[in-house]
Symmetry: C2
Amino acid sequence: MKRSERLVDMVKYLLARPHTLIALPFFADRYGAAKSSISEDLAILRQTLANDKNGILETVAGAAGGVRYIPFVGKKEATNYLHDLADRIEDPDRILPGNFVYLSDILGSPQDLRQIGQLIATKYAYSNVDYVMTIETKGIAIAQAVSRFLNVPFVMVRRRPKITEGSTISVNYVASSSERVEKMELAKRLLPEGSNVLIVDDFMKGGGTLTGMEELVKEFKGTVAGMCVLCETKYASQKVVDDYQSLIKITEVDRTKKLIKVRPGNFLEQTDFNRFPK
Amino acid sequence: MKRSERLVDMVKYLLARPHTLIALPFFADRYGAAKSSISEDLAILRQTLANDKNGILETVAGAAGGVRYIPFVGKKEATNYLHDLADRIEDPDRILPGNFVYLSDILGSPQDLRQIGQLIATKYAYSNVDYVMTIETKGIAIAQAVSRFLNVPFVMVRRRPKITEGSTISVNYVASSSERVEKMELAKRLLPEGSNVLIVDDFMKGGGTLTGMEELVKEFKGTVAGMCVLCETKYASQKVVDDYQSLIKITEVDRTKKLIKVRPGNFLEQTDFNRFPK
């Protein structure tokens, strides 16, 4: 097999398995090629990704070593995408009665979900995330997108008990939107004890739902790797969480005035994009 | 830029944009290369994908022409994956009280969702699907996975009215699991009139929910491109739909006997895998 054919297959193989260590002998065997040829192939691949600031190919040395593809977006691409997304959300037609903002089209767009998933996976690429957690319903699209690029499973917290999930653990929380005490629960067999969990959601007002998920992670004896939402909006009272990231921030929304103001959230300033090898 | 570097970038670019026509001048411009070089690159790419029976690179001739990457799985890979999945589901620990089957781990696994998405996208690769439709909650993972590989948006039907989606159209349906009349609804602005819709879901018993979604597509003056579920199970009464595909079929489940029998569904025999160019 020629180098060019090997490269095509190799890129396809690695992209489908982010964050997974692939041993050099595996590729040598797959293509019937010498290890030295494979090393050269990987050097080309590494350089091309780095030049484009779009993905990192990491080398792990030693007998148990190999290579690992890390989806990683450069700061310029991230900034461009978030400004474009903010502009698209800043459309008065999106303001629904009650000053809710319509985002369902974005949450169903494969190209947006790819970008959103890659962005969040960039920030948490080196956080040793075991699981991504979200709460039904609209957070699911975000969780699945991140799960794809971190290549770890995602789990879905339920607002109502389900008979198709077995035993659960539940917590109470105060929803910022209704200011009522609600219950959320997660199937016991979904999340192993002691997991490092990245919490994501589509929308955040006061942060009550995020706090509930934090509680739930504690009930499973786990740790919280981070909390990240697609969109945060201004909230009259004090937010109940400090340490979170938002990709997008809605700073004003008023249906009667047909006014909506949107800009990138704190994600850009809180993410270290300087990971690309020199 | 060298051929090898162009190939790496090209594969990455095309894989992120399935079913999208990319004009040759776009690549020539992106790499500062002659069109003849780009044509040779694409020939290598086409051949490598076809040899591996894993993806098709289609050429569209003429002034408005270019290339298009179609995610497409070969029959052997499809058969292997579905037998492996059936074996994993055939685990008595999955049987929940009421003879429900626990599938939430599979619906949160990025590697399973990639395979499932690619498989369903293979069957409907040439069906001109405009939208993928599902109903909350567990169908969402399937819809999003298929949406990624067909590169069309997915829409989520709700069982309960939501205030964050604006006006809706609703239909009534008889749920096979409860045999009660229920209501489902879809936001009007999510699905343009006259769309060709692929309906997917995680689980099917009698097919009542699928019928409801068919009705909903009609209410939106659309056509149904197909209906596909991850898992169907035996049902005491007559199923209310005929024309559907299932990836997996559970033929027996009995919690008291700790017995569950699972095999691939009708998907394999109903899919035309012979699309790879000679």
